[in-house]
């Protein structure tokens, strides 16, 4: 049973305002039937230090990734995870997390792969909730397990694989959401982030560099539509009808950009290439461009 949408005026310009909720709205709705709050952080222990009352934790790495194959959990795994957390297929799920909802957006994107319909982000994430002095608890949340149906993951609409990217080169715009240093090829990891094993540095030819964090305002909320249009349409040259592919290093930062392009700007058919640089930068014979310019797509 879905919970009513947050009608806050600050969301009304976005293409899909129903995908965001404000901290005020969420606090007023805590405990509502049909609402489950999910925390998803970069730090696997952050939830334990204090979380929104009633929120359950889903960890991007230990819960959403398959432990063996480099892939997400399958339909059965997802059903077991959500059922075990007490989340029903028709529940409204509000996800929030640290670092401007970086990992929350990633979780939302994975929920979308499984077609969980009503999944929203808390605008401003964990930091805004704490900054406003809203309630937190260290009490573990106990929700009775429910049956979540086994739904096969649909990788065809919002997920891109390496061959899709190769085929799209020159026709679909690519957005590289990593830091300028990673884009130009000075380094293979985000500044201050651990090495994740790409053998080559640079970017996919023709990709525009729009670091993911540009979509966030100082307080961690998403920037207003006019500013987002200036960044992605005027700046990166995206136009309606483009089948955009976004990528980063392992597909997490680009989930954030996928959310912005899809739900805030209203682009259709945006895909996240989650193999991202850790795959492309180690793949044999794929084209790579270095430097600050997008570079030419090699003739085929």
């Amino acid at each position: 049973m879905a919970v009513e949408v947050d009608q806050s005026a600050q969301f009304s310009d976005y293409a899909h305002p129903e995908r965001l909720v404000s901290t005020e709205w969420l606090e007023s709705k805590l405990g509502a039937e049909g609402l489950v709050v999910v925390e998803s952080d970069e730090d696997v222990l952050l939830y334990e230090t204090g979380h929104i009352p009633g929120a359950v934790k889903i960890d991007w790495h230990t819960d959403l990734n398959d432990p063996v194959t480099r892939d997400y959990v399958d339909g059965e795994g997802f059903a077991a995870l959500l059922g075990g957390k007490g989340i029903s297929r028709d529940d409204t799920v509000v996800i929030y997390g640290d670092k401007n909802n970086w990992w929350a957006a990633y979780a939302l994107w994975v929920f979308t792969l499984f077609g969980h319909e009503d999944v929203r982000l808390l605008d401003g994430g964990r930091d805004k909730w704490l900054a406003e002095g809203r309630p937190t608890t260290t009490e573990p949340t106990e929700r009775p397990a429910v049956d979540y149906p086994v739904v096969e993951r649909d990788d065809s609409r919002i997920r891109a694989f390496r061959d899709d990217v190769l085929a799209a080169l020159g026709s679909a715009p690519l957005i590289d959401v990593r830091s300028p240093e990673e884009y130009s090829g000075e380094r293979t990891t985000a500044p201050a982030y651990p090495e994740e094993g790409a053998l080559r540095a640079g970017h996919i030819p023709s990709a525009q560099n729009v670091p993911w964090g540009k979509a966030a305002a100082e307080d961690g909320t998403f920037k207003p539509l006019s500013e987002l249009n200036a960044i992605y349409r005027d700046g990166a040259g995206l136009a309606d009808g483009d089948n955009v592919i976004a990528y980063c290093r392992i597909g997490e930062r680009s989930s954030h950009t996928w959310f912005v392009l899809t739900h805030l700007l209203g682009f259709e058919g945006v895909r996240n290439y989650d193999g991202s640089w850790t795959e492309w930068g180690s793949a044999v014979r794929v084209p790579i461009a270095r430097g600050t310019e997008p570079g030419e797509v090699p003739a085929r």
């Binding site: 730090d43 230990t62 651990p194």
Partner: protein
Amino acid sequence: MSSDLPAPLAEIRDDFLALGQRDRLQLLLEFSNELPGLPERYSEHPDLLERVEECQSPVYIFVEVEDGVVRMHATAPAEAPTTRGFASILAQGLTGLTPEQVLDVPADYPHTLGLTEAVSPLRIRGMTAMLGRIKRQVREKTAA
């Protein structure tokens, strides 16, 4: 050669391994909460601290070797409890050892704590890197 592991490190490892996965996270959180603040002489001298670049969160370490005894200090923000936990394990496990004992700690000690499943191998790498940097500081400080 885990049989030669210094007692404090062996105890920490055994404490983790005695627990189920969920409780291991709780124990890591306890370590995180126990990480002592920096001694004043270092909080006033941030230049003495070395950043552990391999960790996702800003964590800084400093190793002292005095009278043949190693002391390790670390600081990391409250928003990074996992990193604080890693630093705290090493601070408690290594402080009081001789430089030689520290250098002999197996590089894969972080992987023996049984946290790989609960925390993920990727995150454990940050702790491995921290241990490597500690050893390098010990080497530098005993070479003189």
